[in-house]
């Protein structure tokens, strides 16, 4: 056969490019992603854009406590969102709180994903007793509400960012393990795995290079949803007073601080951190929702 055919202009569209094009078709998801990016940006830049460092006791004056939104603490320094009981500027406190909430949510999400992913893959590929044992542990874990597991662990471990991340990882790895195992079971029976075996490719490479990339779609979806739930779980724990200490106010701590003033009409101390939390969680969930639609082949046009 001669190669006289005119060279075809082959537009190499990677799966990622196609995915990106499909994702931005939805206005709501695009907006949600935009809001989430702004939130992340604000949180990251907090030390440079806030008027006050709420951790620095020298900058916080108790006499400025419970000022309503828009008050002038001293000439030229307006607290647009008011201040909390300890005299912290709420705008600054919320941005610093977001830092902690996002760090905890993302760190626990990523660690739980990695652990759950490896455990799920091992279960799916090993099969037999190993799989039965792992999946019964997963079932056992999932039969408890995640908040209860995290609550018990934090109560036992004590306060601190590292401890709450650990608690959230323990509470959430099972979701990832179950998702990965279910997908990997389907993938490992596909012919391309058999073909890879026939090429003499090692087991390790088949699992991590061939099966794993094909399991990414559901993993990404579960990852976003679980990260959002990790953030709200951390807020719950902090609100209940077992999460982060008063000196490291996350959004949950801020909401808890304002709770006692709610009935006296000083709504802003709880409501503004609450809105920040709501916006964060809802934007992540909207992104996750749309990711599920885009990545699910059954919903493809």
């Amino acid at each position: 056969m001669t190669n006289t055919a005119t060279p075809v202009e082959l537009k190499v569209e990677t799966p990622f490019q196609r995915f990106r094009a499909e994702f931005f078709e939805s206005k709501i998801a695009t907006a949600a992603l935009g809001i989430f990016c702004i939130i992340v940006l604000l949180a990251v830049l907090a030390p440079w854009i806030t008027p006050q460092n709420p951790y620095d006791l020298a900058q916080v004056d108790v006499l400025d406590g419970r000022l309503p939104p828009g008050s002038e603490a001293f000439p030229g320094y307006i607290m647009w969102l008011g201040s909390d009981g300890a005299g912290r500027d709420l705008y600054s406190a919320i941005l610093y709180g977001l830092r902690i909430s996002l760090t905890v949510g993302l760190a626990s999400g990523v660690i739980a994903l990695l652990i759950g992913m490896v455990i799920g893959l091992v279960a799916a590929y090993a099969g037999g007793r190993v799989e039965a044992l792992i999946m019964r542990i997963v079932d056992l874990q999932l039969s408890f509400p995640a908040s209860l597991v995290a609550l018990m662990l934090v109560a036992a471990l004590g306060k601190g960012v590292d401890k709450i991340i650990l608690a959230l990882v323990v509470a959430q790895w099972a979701y990832y393990a179950r998702t990965v195992r279910a997908t990997a079971l389907v993938e490992r029976n596909k012919e391309y795995v058999e073909a890879a075996q026939c090429l003499g490719i090692s087991r390790f490479r088949i699992v991590f290079r061939h099966i794993l990339p094909n399991c990414m779609a559901p993993l990404i979806v579960v990852g976003t949803v679980q990260t959002a739930s990790a953030i709200s779980l951390e807020a719950t724990l902090s609100f209940l007073g077992v999460g982060l200490p008063q000196t490291e106010p996350s959004l949950g701590v801020l909401i808890a601080n304002g709770f006692e003033y709610m009935l006296s009409g000083r709504y802003w101390i709880s409501v503004f951190p609450g809105l920040a939390l709501l916006l964060t969680v809802v934007s992540i969930n909207l992104v996750g929702d749309h990711l599920r639609d885009v990545l699910n082949p059954r919903l493809k046009k």
Binding site: E191, Q197, C198, I201, N214
Partner: protein, 325 residues
């Protein structure tokens, strides 16, 4: 000519809850360098399981219970996994039926081909990439550099099967097992693929086992043919002998079932009945209940014997092909 592959008395059984399925039950054949053997049979006759047995890819509850698979003189029937892994893709390659399914959808062609080389050889990626490109050129893929950068879904079915064939030939194997590689393709593409495969085996001296249910395909391709029925070889011989003068009633039936241009209007021949349940094979000759030439002798299992330049497992050879109406 020494045999690259010599299979003797191969038995692969599956131990299911419902009973023992004797998917392959005493199969013998040999393939020499540069030779193409057609392994023909209906679905469930054990032809694919024979192929997977050679590669040592039988998953539980199945296993090779008996027999020898001598590959270049070495018995690999129960060789350890590490040894088999070094043979697979290197000395023995496989081409599958459905090219849509055998390429990993999320990896680019170059990634998959280079990986197949690097799994067996310590060379740098650049040379591996060059060898992949040359291999694609050999199977008639235009502008191979661009195709290498593509993902499987960007290629047509015929193109993907060419990629699969190029991958199978990458490490210059001694033996290629092709499991119905053209069944999922158009007739025109099928002819091209057969042409490429034939050309490459001639050039490289690779032996090939071409598994198919279509006698018409192997008639123009194979040097010899083994016809399988219910886990056993029923007729084995040179392609011309088997195609022109089939002796086993089953082979006769298979050939008669192929529609040809000069029998328009005539009623197409069909083999009556269904392939037998592998859990409850009939007593005696497995083909007996469907056979037009059945006699009382068929109640016992016929042994394989040498008849007219071939091996045959039948009491009533259809020397005159009288069944073919």
């Amino acid at each position: 000519m020494t045999a690259v592959l010599d299979v003797s008395g191969l038995k692969t059984h599956f131990f299911t809850h419902a009973g023992v399925v004797k998917a392959v039950d005493g199969v013998d054949f040999a393939v020499s360098k540069g030779e193409i053997m057609g392994l023909v049979g209906e679905s469930g006759s054990g032809k694919s399981i024979t192929g997977f047995s050679i590669l040592g890819l039988i998953d539980p509850p199945g296993r090779i219970v008996e027999g020898a698979i001598r590959f270049n003189g070495e018995d690999i029937a129960n060789a350890p996994e590490e040894r088999l892994q070094r043979l697979r893709g290197n000395r023995i390659s496989m081409i599958f039926q459905d090219p849509m399914m055998t390429l990993n959808p999320v990896l680019r062609i170059d990634t998959q081909m280079i990986e197949a080389i690097l799994a067996h050889e310590k060379i740098d990626r650049k040379s591996a990439w060059e060898r992949s490109r040359d291999a694609l050129g050999l199977v008639g893929i235009p502008s191979p550099e661009e195709r290498l950068r593509a993902y499987p879904h960007q290629l047509s079915g015929g193109m993907r099967q060419r990629v699969a064939i190029a991958t199978a030939f990458l490490n210059k194997p001694d033996l290629i097992i092709a499991d119905e590689p053209t069944t999922a393709l158009d007739v025109t593409i099928q002819a091209q693929i057969i042409h490429e495969a034939q050309k490459l085996t001639r050039q490289t001296g690779t032996a090939m086992i071409w598994i198919t249910h279509d006698l018409a395909v192997v008639a123009g391709l194979a040097d010899k043919i083994s016809v399988m029925y219910a886990g056993r070889i029923v007729e084995q011989g040179g392609t011309d002998d088997v195609i022109d003068h089939p002796l086993h009633p089953y082979t006769v039936g298979l050939l008669g079932s192929v529609p040809t241009a000069n029998q328009r209007g005539a009623r197409l021949f069909q083999i009556e009945g269904m392939t037998p349940n592998m859990l409850a094979l009939p007593q005696g000759c497995a083909f007996g209940p469907r056979c037009r030439a059945r006699t009382a002798a068929c109640a016992t299992q016929p042994a394989i014997s040498d008849v007219a330049r071939r091996r045959l497992r039948c009491f009533n050879p259809q020397a005159l092909a009288e069944v073919q109406e």
